[in-house]
C-alpha cells in the first residue's frame, strides 16, 4: 500500500463512479421524486445544490487523479521517473500511441463535456430539457464505462478482446448507477428527514433507487462473472492467488450490500407510506439513511480493493511466474509445445557445473497439468554420452524440480520430460536446450 498508484487509482475510481452516479441519480431518481414534493417544500432546492457541489467536486477529483494516473503509467511504461516523463515528451507518446493513452484522451474529452452539461444541467434549478437529461446520462455512462480500457480488460485476444472490455464497461456503468448513487441517496434522505413534509419525496426516491439498484445488481453479477472468467479462470486460481482471494473479499462485500438493499426494499420501504404510523415511518427513514451510509462505506472498500486488483497480475497469469518475472539471465529456458501439452523447462544456471532444473507442465490451454510423477532426462551433445535420468520432485507451487544435476560439457543438450498423468496416460516432451561453458 506504499505504492502511490494505489491511492491514485482508488481516488479516480471513486470520483468517476460518484460523478456518474450523481448524474444518474439526478435524472432517474431525484427529479422524478421532487415532483411529489408538497408546495412550499424546500427539499428539492437543498438537495439540488448539494448534489451540484458533489458533482463538481467529484469531477475535479477525477480529472486531477486521472492526470496523476497518466503520469504514473507513462513512468512505468517508459521506465523513467515521473518528473522526466513530463519534461521529455513521453506523456504525448503515451497519449497518442497507446491504447491507454487514447482512452485517457477520450475520457478527458468526456470530462470536459460533463462540465459543459453540469453547468446548466445541474444547478439549483430543475433540468427541463430532455436532450440535456439524455446527454447527461449518456456522458456519465461513457465516462464510467471507458475506464474499462485502462485496465486488464483491454488485453484480450480474439473473442475476449470484444467480450471482456464490453462486460467490464457495463460493470462500471452499473456500479456507478448503484454504488455511485448511494451518497446522493443519503443526502436526499437526510434533507427529506429534516423537512417534515417530504415523506413522499423520500418514498419515491427510495423506490426508484431500489428498482434501478436491482437492474444494476443483476448487471454487476452477470458482467462480474464474465470478468472473473477472463481474469481468474479457475476455482483453484480464486483460492490460490492473492488476486483471487482479494476478489473473493470483494464478492462477499457485494453480497452484504445486496442483502442490505433487499432488507431496505422488503423490510423498511413498506413503512414509508403516507398513512402509516408516524413513529414507524420516522424510524424506517432513519434506518434507510443509516443503511445508505453503511452501503457507501462498503462500496468505498470495494473500490479500494479494485484499485489493488488492477495492480496485481490477474490470477489466470500468476501460474506464468517464470516468464512473467523474467527468466534469470544465467538460466537456460525451453518452452516445449505439443498438441498434448506443454512444458516450461528452466535450467539454472544454464552452464557446465552443478545446476537445477525446474519444470512447469500445462495443457494446451495453459491450465496447470496434474502429473503423478515426472522423470527428467538430459542427453549430452556428444555421441555416446550417457543420458542423465532423474525423478523430479514437486514443490509447493506445483513445479517439478530436480536438484544437483552435474552438467559435464557445454553445447546443445536434449531435454526429455516424461510425465505420468494417469494409468496408461503419459506425456513425453523432448527438445534441445543450450548449455553454456563454465564461467
Amino acid at each position: 500500500l506504499s505504492d502511490p498508484f494505489f491511492y491514485v487509482r482508488a481516488v479516480h475510481f471513486a470520483a468517476t463512479l460518484l460523478v456518474a452516479g450523481v448524474a444518474f441519480f439526478v435524472v432517474c431518481i431525484a427529479e422524478p421524486a421532487f415532483r411529489t414534493a408538497k408546495d412550499g417544500s424546500r427539499v428539492a432546492g437543498v438537495v439540488r445544490s448539494r448534489l451540484t457541489f458533489l458533482a463538481w467536486l467529484a469531477l475535479a477529483l477525477a480529472v486531477v487523479s486521472g492526470a496523476a494516473w497518466l503520469v504514473l503509467t507513462a513512468a512505468a511504461m517508459s521506465q523513467q521517473p515521473p518528473a522526466e516523463v513530463v519534461s521529455q515528451g513521453v506523456l504525448w507518446t503515451v497519449l497518442s500511441s497507446t491504447t491507454f493513452g487514447n482512452d485517457w484522451l477520450a475520457r478527458f474529452a468526456l470530462a470536459c463535456l460533463f462540465a459543459v452539461l453540469l453547468a446548466p444541467g445541474l444547478s439549483q434549478r430543475r433540468i427541463e430539457s430532455r436532450p440535456v437529461k439524455a446527454a447527461l446520462v449518456i456522458v456519465a455512462a461513457a465516462f464510467a464505462g471507458s475506464l474499462a480500457w485502462a485496465g486488464h480488460a483491454a488485453g484480450g485476444l480474439g473473442v475476449e478482446a470484444i467480450v471482456h472490455p464490453a462486460a467490464d464497461a457495463l460493470h462500471l456503468v452499473a456500479a456507478a448507477a448503484w454504488v455511485g448513487a448511494l451518497l446522493p441517496l443519503w443526502l436526499l434522505l437526510q434533507a427529506a428527514a429534516s423537512d417534515g413534509g417530504s415523506l413522499a419525496v423520500a418514498r419515491t426516491a427510495t423506490l426508484r433507487f431500489s428498482t434501478l439498484g436491482m437492474a444494476a445488481v443483476a448487471t454487476i453479477l452477470a458482467t462480474g462473472s464474465i470478468n472473473a472468467w477472463c481474469l481468474v479462470g479457475s476455482f483453484a486460481a480464486l483460492a490460490g492467488t492473492d488476486y483471487g482471494r482479494l476478489l473473493s473479499v470483494k464478492v462477499v462485500l457485494f453480497f452484504v450490500m445486496v442483502a442490505v438493499a433487499a432488507f431496505n426494499r422488503l423490510g423498511l420501504m413498506p413503512h414509508l407510506v403516507a398513512d402509516g404510523h408516524p413513529a414507524a415511518t420516522v424510524t424506517a427513514l432513519r434506518q434507510l439513511r443509516r443503511n445508505a451510509a453503511f452501503e457507501t462505506a462498503a462500496g468505498a472498500i470495494i473500490i479500494a480493493i479494485v484499485a489493488v486488483l488492477g495492480t496485481l497480475p490477474p490470477a489466470s497469469h500468476a501460474s506464468h511466474h517464470p516468464v512473467y518475472g523474467g527468466i534469470p539471465a544465467d538460466a537456460s529456458f525451453q518452452h516445449i509445445h505439443t498438441g498434448q501439452g506443454m512444458a516450461d523447462v528452466m535450467i539454472e544456471p544454464g552452464r557446465v557445473g552443478t545446476t537445477r532444473a525446474t519444470i512447469h507442465l500445462w495443457d494446451d490451454d495453459f491450465n496447470e497439468l496434474d502429473a503423478q510423477a515426472v522423470t527428467f532426462t538430459l542427453t549430452p551433445p556428444a555421441a555416446g554420452g550417457k543420458p542423465l535420468t532423474r525423478p523430479a520432485v514437486q514443490d509447493a507451487d506445483g513445479a517439478w524440480v530436480v536438484d544437483g544435476i552435474e552438467l559435464s560439457q557445454p553445447g546443445n543438450w536434449t531435454v526429455t520430460v516424461d510425465a505420468v498423468l494417469g494409468p496408461g496416460n503419459r506425456l513425453v516432451l523432448e527438445a534441445p536446450i543450450v548449455i553454456d561453458p563454465k564461467q
Binding site: G158, A161, S225, F333
Partner: protein, 118 residues
C-alpha cells in the same frame, strides 16, 4: 427459488475452463527458444499472448561477447515483434525482449538460441 438457481449458476461461471489469457507473455519464438539452427536466421520473431504497444516494446539480440547483432529497431504489430539480424556466424545468441501489453503492464525475459553444429 428460480432467482437462487440463477444466482448460483452465475457464480459457477468462473469455474468454466478458460482458454485465453492477458499480459504479454512470450508464446513462442523463431528461432525456437533454446533451439539450435543449422543456418543463420535473418530475423528473430517473437509471438506474445497479448497485443503489444509498439512505442514501448523492444527486443535486442547479442552474441556471446555481448555485442549487438540485430539491425536496431524492432517491428511491432499486434502480438508479434520482429527484428532483423546482421549475418551471424556459428555461436550462441541471446534474445532479450521487453514488452508493454495494451493493458499497460510490462513483461520482459530472455532466451538463447544456437547457430551451427553443436
Amino acid at each position: 427459488m428460480r432467482t437462487l438457481i440463477l444466482i448460483v449458476s452465475l457464480l459457477l461461471v468462473p469455474l468454466l475452463p478458460n482458454a485465453a489469457l492477458a499480459h504479454a507473455f512470450l508464446d513462442h519464438a523463431s528461432p525456437l527458444v533454446g533451439s539450435t539452427v543449422a543456418a543463420a536466421p535473418h530475423e528473430v520473431a517473437l509471438w506474445f499472448t497479448q497485443d503489444l504497444e509498439p512505442a514501448f516494446s523492444s527486443v535486442e539480440v547479442t552474441d556471446a561477447g555481448g555485442a549487438r547483432v540485430d539491425q536496431g529497431k524492432a517491428a511491432v504489430s499486434a502480438n508479434t515483434m520482429r527484428i532483423g539480424l546482421k549475418s551471424l556466424g556459428s555461436g550462441t545468441y541471446r534474445v532479450r525482449w521487453h514488452a508493454l501489453s495494451v493493458d499497460t503492464h510490462t513483461t520482459e525475459g530472455s532466451f538463447t538460441f544456437h547457430v551451427g553444429g553443436p
